[in-house]
Point group: C2
Chain length 261, copies 2
DNA sequence: GAGTGGTCTAGACCACACT
DNA sequence: GTGTGGTCTAGACCACTCC
């Protein structure tokens, strides 16, 4: 049997055109399978924490070999969309049941041995209209509804991070300070289970800034103290931005860690 | 034929013990092949920029199937130790011929459209004895020889980064300010071609700090201005630390970018 | 034991680069 | 055309989990 595009061909792009001059660019089978699985994740066919069908079953469904399904799943596991567990199955990744609270927080205390000790305190949660800045970044129209959250992270009861968070209002109807405070576990877990918004990926921009008066009060540092400013844009499926977060970190007893390779 | 450990078994760990209670932990074949290839890289059998033997040839040499070699190479390519080029071969990664000068520098100007414009200026390069701090981090004894380099990075002739770099003296004999200045291309390329030290991986610790007087002069900012402090520890094969770098970044017109996933 | 992912093999063909 | 990596297949067996 030839290896050219069985039943699984993804109906995209130039299905009509007979001979595009520019870019036919047909993708390998396993990438098409990957796209099909991603679609299943996005549509909610398999929900976070659940198992997806076995490799054999997916191979049957898509009419390809198990090896091809395997390569597609491998790629999705690399991107942290799926989690493989030998002997049990392949599961949709979730923020909801993670031991690692603060999975995306790259802040580490100077004295390593400490381990836990992070807590949080919600200061504010309100609905308002998006400024042009916020709207542009979140791919909204200026004036659209947004939810703004302000919160503090504390390490051993000392404030370390002041976060301002903006979310598209239409995706987070009914999000209140109460809902946030009641929630045990990661905030992204709440977003996932209560609002069906799953964070896949994020970009951060870091700078050093001086503490203004209000910030200095919240973080209990002198006005003008150097703070690490972390601006995070989080994306869901299809690289759609769904959260903007501006954090100010007091790095006098913590550092932001990063790996290069 | 059974799939259990052909001729390629890596002679490691518990080759002697008959039945360890704790951890026999034999690794899959492709990981053993990966280790063998890594050894070839480390020993200089294949040098940076050169091609390694074809998959078929390696499969013959190691007495495994091409698929197994492929998986080993895939892993090494993921770690940026090898670079695959379809139709040409698989090459040892190198810093020497990289278009991307400053591959590890995560600093981006606020006005994107700018593109190039980074230049550098070496201020100092001297041999001295390692302080206890530096020695500990670089895995040396206090008092061992180290090379210290100080340099400035400029963007459009404006100073942006002040770097202090420490290198183990025994690995970098004969490194002088002249050698550094004459060198076109990445500094890590020079380390690679002239001293046989290849940077594989690095860890960075970021904090916000206030500019002291000397730094303020070099970066042309007010004393006390907030600066991004970036402490980088670079590793070569076997995770051996071979460079410590402390950078101070003026982030008033640039930001440090990072990806989370 | 049944079901799952994990490893390994062998062989076919495709896409690309050089010559 | 020859040689390289890239994709796809089919089947075998191993390792782990749960019943």
């Amino acid at each position: 049997m030839s290896a050219t595009l069985p039943a699984a061909v993804v109906p995209g792009a130039d299905a009509s055109a007979s001979k595009d001059p520019a870019a036919p660019a047909f993708s390998p089978l396993y990438q098409q399978i990957k796209a099909l699985i991603t679609r299943g994740l996005q549509s909610g066919e398999w929900r976070p924490g659940e198992a997806i069908p076995s490799e054999a079953e997916l191979a049957l469904r898509f009419k390809v070999s198990q090896g091809t399904v395997r390569k597609a799943i491998d790629a999705l596991a690399d991107e942290n969309l799926l989690v493989r567990r030998q002997g049990k199955g392949t599961f949709v990744a979730t923020h909801a049941e993670e031991k690692t609270q603060f999975r995306f927080l790259r802040l580490t205390p100077d004295d390593e041995g400490s381990g836990r000790g992070m807590s949080r305190r919600f200061i504010d949660c309100r609905r308002q209209r998006a400024s042009t800045d916020i709207a542009r970044v979140l791919d909204l129209k200026a004036g659209d509804a947004v939810v703004q959250i302000r919160r503090l992270l504390l390490f051993r009861d000392r404030p370390v991070v002041l976060d301002d968070i903006w979310l598209p209002g239409h995706l987070f109807k009914g999000l209140t300070a109460e809902r946030l405070s009641e929630n045990r576990g990661p905030m992204y877990g709440l977003f996932e289970t209560e609002f069906g918004v799953r964070m896949i990926r994020a970009e951060e921009k870091l700078r050093a800034v001086a503490a203004d008066e209000a910030t200095a009060r919240w973080l209990d540092v002198p006005v003008g103290a150097p703070l690490l400013s972390v601006e995070r844009l989080s994306m869901t499926y299809g690289d759609k931005p769904v959260e903007l977060r501006r954090g100010l970190y007091d790095t006098s007893a913590h550092y932001y860690r990063n790996e290069l390779s």
